[in-house]
Symmetry: C2
Subunit: 103 residues, 2 copies
Amino acid sequence: MTLNQLKAFYWAAKLGTFAIAAERLHVTQSSLSKRIAELEADMGAQLFDRSGKRAVLTDMGAILLNKARQMIELEEEIRSNLKSDVTPTGTCRFGLSELSATT
Amino acid sequence: MTLNQLKAFYWAAKLGTFAIAAERLHVTQSSLSKRIAELEADMGAQLFDRSGKRAVLTDMGAILLNKARQMIELEEEIRSNLKSDVTPTGTCRFGLSELSATT
DNA sequence: TAAAAATACTCCATAGGTATTTTAT
DNA sequence: ATAAAATACCTATGGAGTATTTTTA
């Protein structure tokens, strides 16, 4: 499981087709298709129904979607957190004692 | 940022040396050292102080540690979640309607 | 001097791209 | 006939390993 696989999955679920999700992530349709196939292999479960023209989530896919969203949000949190705390030289803007406990 | 980088970081912080963290993750010290260097490059901040014989977290590192833990826990949740819900054929053991809303 | 981390190097797996084929409407 | 996904194929990058060097207590 990788963050890129989860992002591919998330955007495909959200946008309804692999091709459009690929555009969104600035990768080819081929690449995105493979990312999702890899994730499905890793999970040992099919995540999309490809019967129609739109990719629709299976039950397993729906279960995963929430978790995938949490992962993606957590990564964003990390980046924005760090961005606000790190100085141009890579040190911390604050002493730890000044920071509220962040759970 | 990758899950492997975060795991390297997490275990190095937890165990106090890169070498022991490497053992724990079944990779070489060289590989683990590089994972952490990559993560530091990505974050744009140093995460460890290497002045002593033990690797000790910088303030930035301490901030990241909580988030890294959450990421790792989330991955574990996904795996155990899926394991309990997926049938040997890769379908879902339950209809979605039977599942409690999992946020 | 001993233990830890960094680094130089080599190798291979894989992630990504292009082009094409398959599938379903 | 068209739009979407899968796939075959190729390439380049990066991630991992071994061996060595650097650092510091």
